[in-house]
């Protein structure tokens, strides 16, 4: 049983990342966490919540919060436009929707390609899992080989209840 676990673990070392843009930055999340990508639809606003929580939306009978990810990470709030979409992800046992500017690509990376993020974050540890440099398909097509930096997000760090747990 355990040898089987090892095999699958090794196989998963090559992980798939969904990349998307927020303003001029490119971020990535592990594809395993992604449930679906939806078009932006105005959620039902919630009273007395931090402004980055845009509200809740109906995801097949589940009430799922929609997070303004840019704002959550300390950037300028995203403006809604035609390509705005919501990445529905699972964080632990909970689900959340992240408002992003545009979904870009799906890339495969090895764990060894992830560099730890230097400590220049937004006063909050472990939201960024690490940095990865990738060449996207469109860049290859253009013959551009400078690559692009992706900020790989740690979804657990973005859990909405994390601050509650820290307080408790």
């Amino acid at each position: 049983m355990s040898s089987l676990d090892h095999r699958t673990a090794n196989k998963q070392a090559d992980r798939k990342i969904v990349t998307f843009s927020l303003g001029h930055q490119t971020f990535g999340i592990d594809m395993h966490s992604l449930i679906e990508i939806r078009e932006w639809e105005e959620p039902t606003p919630l009273p007395t919540v931090p402004s980055f929580i845009k509200g809740v939306t109906n995801l097949r009978g589940n009430v799922v919060p929609v997070i303004g990810l840019a704002e959550r990470l300390g950037w300028e709030p995203s403006k809604i436009h035609a390509r705005s979409c919501v990445l529905v992800v699972s964080i632990g046992e909970k689900q959340a929707g992240f408002l992003v500017d545009e979904v870009s690509d799906i890339v495969s990376i090895g764990d060894q390609e992830i560099q730890p993020a230097p400590d220049v974050e937004i006063g909050e540890p472990s939201v960024i899992l690490g940095l990865v440099r990738v060449e996207s398909r469109t860049m290859e097509a253009r013959g551009d080989d400078t690559g692009q930096m992706i900020l790989l997000l740690d979804l657990d760090g973005l859990s909405l209840t994390r601050h509650l747990e820290l307080v408790a």
């Binding site: 049983m1 959620p43 039902t44 606003p45 919630l46 009273p47 007395t48 919540v49 929580i53 809740v56 939306t57 109906n58 097949r60 009978g61 589940n62 009430v63 799922v64 919060p65 909970k94 689900q95 959340a96 909405l160 209840t161 509650l164 408790a168």
Partner: protein, 715 residues
């Protein structure tokens, strides 16, 4: 494998609950054979499962316990209070052993209790099995469940099956003599998929001296049709006559349901086709090998006296009488509930889109009624008696009494109140803290109580009742009550309140729920770590409930957890606040008024009242409380809904408009988010959009959530 272990521990928990209930009933004087047999069976299945998973210490202890229980069950040892007490302490140790096997606790010291059990066996066991105390009692051919023999096989050679099955059908009705045993064994098709290991069972029988006479391969499909997780084989095994029947039945103690198992003497051989060997036929056992099985019509015959209808799976009847249940993954139930919720919503969409005449024409009302019934039923599947949460209390009280020297009687009422399983799981910890708190801080030592003219024994009343859509769980003690002077002094010392804070008695009582508050002079290992009541409050609030404290100095303290019945349907009024739709629970609504000019008056810059036929009721602006846009809407354009609240009586709530009245399905916000003060949840309306459900109690308790600070705590 872990999953199967998980099932085993789940079954242990259920078994322990049954045993504790039974033992408590015995202690209270209920010595009916059903009660005693129930305890016996519970202990027996724990032992069996423990053996299968190789938990040697647990198995050994359960075995001793079971021996005594068996003697009691057979009437050879009278269930005197003394004996029952020994069994209760044995039960406690058994619980610890289960926890140890699970890895959540260290191995308990069981030698004292083991000695006590031995003593019971030795002194009272004058009956059949009383000769050698250390030896397992001989298997009595009682109609309940055979006493397993051969300790060795119990501990080491057990089968793999975590599915508990009673052994009724294996009654030893024949003379245990001469001919060899013939076992016919066909695991259910799903056995492997369910985690069963038929091969281990067969090997186990072989280890007892059995030899395989034949294996029926006729059910094997062609290779390409073969499902790797199905079992197609059927074994016929011969076992020497000298082996005890109980040892054989033990081997099959944990076979998958729907498996065919028959154990009979060889003279009663039948062709393997019609399964079991019961009726004496003229074939010799050798014929079995030659008998060409025809599986077209599997006829299941059973051992002599217990033949059920031939079409019934052999072991179906064997499930214990109390367990007319089926184990279902909670996730499946939740999924079902969600889908039914969707169905309800589709129903209301239809109702929205069809004219009343069309609704009648397509019989929509009937469909709606049916849907509602399905929903009620699905929700009742998740509801469990709160007894599950209460069941750990007696044990805790015994431990705490022993530790503190305080004597406590427990009175429990309302344990059959049904609550959603999710709530039951989450009130365990708060309940534990409340009980500990009551014993540690509430109940006085016996000498103090006598000095105060009270009974030496303290009483803790544990109760549950449903009122409307809420469950009230109370822990009431008759102890010394909250010492408000000391609580206040402590709160000042800890910096929780200012030294000059003016607090009411209720506010002082609430302080004991403040984070970091503890009045215990010395930190005991019972409570007093300064987390207890704080944890209670945060856990209960996380469930969308609240904690109330009522205390009378010298007479006692009552803690009440007021919890929502989650996942329920709510009769709601759809109102608009700041343009957004919200649901107001109709149960709270008294009446609605369009305020006339001058009917609403200010009593302070932040407080208003409404004149209702000469009676002045406080008025709250919901948009202000939530700080929503549109707060400056004129009063003449608004409506006042008079609501009834537990804490503040009748209160007027100003809303923009009222849209509709309808039944809504409550969806919790904290499933994917966290509880939001003032909201009881959310619901999905007919058009698929979400409306938030207002929590009246929280709303009327405050003027503004943004500025909210806990009551009585210095701002």
């Amino acid at each position: 494998m872990d999953e199967i272990q998980g099932i085993f521990f789940e079954e242990c928990a259920e078994g322990l609950a049954v045993a504790e209930q039974g033992l408590s009933a015995m202690r209270a004087g209920d010595l009916s054979s059903e009660t005693i047999a129930g305890v016996f069976r519970a202990v027996h299945s724990i032992k069996g499962g423990a053996g299968a998973f190789g938990h040697a210490a647990l198995t050994a202890f359960a075995h001793r316990f079971e021996n005594v229980m068996d003697e009691v069950r057979a009437g050879r040892i009278p269930a005197t209070p003394g004996v029952t007490d020994v069994m209760l302490s044995a039960f406690d140790i058994l619980t610890d052993h289960v926890a140890a096997a699970r890895g959540t606790a260290p191995l308990p010291q069981d030698s004292a209790v083991l000695a006590a059990l031995e003593n019971v066996l030795e002194t009272k066991g004058v009956g059949v099995g009383g000769g050698a105390t250390a030896a397992p009692a001989p298997a009595p051919a009682t109609p309940d469940a055979p006493q397993p023999e051969a300790e060795e096989s119990d501990e080491d050679e057990f089968g793999f099956r975590p599915v508990g099955v009673a052994l009724d059908i294996f009654d030893a009705t024949e003379e245990p003599v001469e001919p060899d045993w013939i076992i016919d064994f066909a695991p259910s098709h799903a056995a492997l998929a369910n985690g069963g290991e038929p091969l281990l069972l067969v090997r186990e029988v072989e280890a007892l001296g059995g030899s395989i006479v034949s294996v029926d391969l006729s059910a094997l499909p062609p290779l390409r049709e073969m499902e790797p997780e199905q079992s197609y084989l059927r074994w016929t095994i011969r076992v020497p006559a000298s082996i005890e029947e109980a040892a054989l039945t033990d081997c099959f103690d944990f076979v998958a349901p729907d498996s065919l198992v028959s154990i009979a003497r060889a003279e009663s051989v039948v062709p393997a086709t019609s399964a079991a060997a019961t009726d004496p036929l003229d074939q010799t056992s050798d014929d079995i090998a030659d008998a060409e099985p025809e599986l077209s019509a599997p006829v299941l015959t059973l051992v002599s006296t217990t033949a059920p209808s031939p079409s019934a799976p052999t072991l179906e009847r064997a499930s214990e009488p109390a367990a007319q249940t089926i184990r279902v993954d909670l996730i499946k139930l939740d999924l079902l509930l969600n889908l039914v919720g969707e169905l309800v919503i589709r129903n209301s969409i239809l109702a929205d889109r069809l004219t009343p005449a069309d609704q009648q024409r397509v019989e929509l009302p009937e469909l709606a009624r049916l849907t509602r019934q399905i929903q009620d039923n699905v929700m009742s599947l998740r509801a469990q008696p709160i007894r599950q949460a209460f069941s750990r209390v007696p044990r805790m009280l015994r431990d705490l009494s022993a530790e503190t020297g305080k004597q406590v009687i427990l009175e429990t009422t309302g344990e059959t109140t049904e609550v959603d399983k999710g709530v039951i799981e989450k009130i365990g910890d708060p309940l534990t803290h409340m009980i500990r708190n009551a014993i540690d801080h509430g109940i006085e030592p016996p000498a103090d109580r006598i000095a105060k003219g009270k009974e030496a024994q303290g009483t803790i009343r544990l109760s549950a009742e449903q009122k409307g859509a809420r469950i009230f769980v109370r822990v009431a003690d008759d102890g010394r009550g909250i010492d408000r002077v000391r609580v206040r002094a402590k709160a000042i010392e800890k910096g929780i309140i200012q030294a000059d804070a003016q607090l009411t008695d209720e506010e002082i009582d609430q302080l004991i729920c403040a984070p970091g508050f503890s009045t215990a002079e010395t930190i005991s290992n019972i409570s007093g770590r300064g987390v207890g009541m704080d944890v209670v409050r945060s856990n209960v609030e996380a469930l969308g409930g609240r904690v109330e404290i009522a205390s009378t100095p010298g007479e006692g303290t009552t803690f009440t957890m007021i919890l929502p019945l989650t996942l329920a349907i709510l009769d709601g009024m759809i109102v608009r606040l700041g343009g957004q739709r919200y649901v107001l629970p109709l149960a709270n609504v008294i009446e609605t008024v369009q305020p006339a000019p001058g009917q609403v008056k200010r009593t302070s810059p932040t407080n208003e009242v409404i004149d209702m036929r000469g009676q002045y009721l406080p008025v709250k602006r919901a948009t202000d409380i939530f700080d929503l846009p549109g707060s400056n809407r004129s009063l003449e354009d608004s409506l006042v809904v008079i609501v009834e609240s537990e804490s503040a009586g009748h209160v007027g709530l100003i809303v923009d408009t009222i849209d509709d009245r309808r039944e809504v399905v409550i969806k919790s916000l904290d499933q994917n988010l966290y509880p939001i003060r003032g909201l009881g949840g959310a619901t999905i309306l007919g058009d698929g959009s979400i409306a938030l459900i207002l929590d009246i109690e929280a709303l009327v308790a405050s003027n503004s959530f943004n500025r909210f600070t806990p009551k009585g705590i210095a701002a």
